[in-house]
Symmetry: C2
Subunit: 143 residues, 2 copies
Amino acid sequence: MGLALVEAEAARDLGEVPIGAVVVSAGGEVLARAGNRTLALADPTAHAEMLAIRAACASLRSERLPTCDLYVTLEPCAMCAAAISFARIRRLYFGPSDPKGGAVEHGPRFFTQATCHHAPEVYGGIGEAQSASLLKAFFAARR
Amino acid sequence: MGLALVEAEAARDLGEVPIGAVVVSAGGEVLARAGNRTLALADPTAHAEMLAIRAACASLRSERLPTCDLYVTLEPCAMCAAAISFARIRRLYFGPSDPKGGAVEHGPRFFTQATCHHAPEVYGGIGEAQSASLLKAFFAARR
């Protein structure tokens, strides 16, 4: 989660919402790391999780990552939760929960839906304080 | 929807699940068209809708498409529904509904969630018969 926080800080330094994600192999190798880039890439799908999953899939030349774990600094949204499911991610570790846009513990609670065909093991609240403080400072500065 | 069906057929010819999508501007110009490419790109996020939205955003250099409409040959999943919302798509036209994986009329019903901050106007069942027949033939041939 430390690396994901570094990615979140790098995103903030570019003016992006500070969220970072890392995909780690079963052996503990970092396969991909990414920060949010929706503005820089003019791409509404360029959330940290999406970029990290796509990069890990590209590096393994596989559309599935069944032995991999994802670390992300905020509760994933519905788009990212569904992508995590499609990629068959084994374990999801995330930071603070996100009542406004989260889709794991809030809103759709995607992994509990009958239309969700793979749910990872989920561990929330990891590195919560650091990530929450980054997000809070970012949005306070923009008001 | 005719163009989206052409993209769906082209996807099928590549061995991909036959789904196609088109983004059209307010003036009726086709900004982007794409078919499903999850296998070819080894990318679980490479659904037709995602590729079409990303391409339209790239062509307009904007992460939002508030005057654009999306045509897709099947009810979008949760990932694509959330991406449609983030992109601020104006109107969504889709083909058959998808009880197994759809997220507009099924499962999360994403656009009805409090965590969904933009919902397009939605028109389902457009070009339904042609798309359903493409999908049925594709899955029958794989069994």
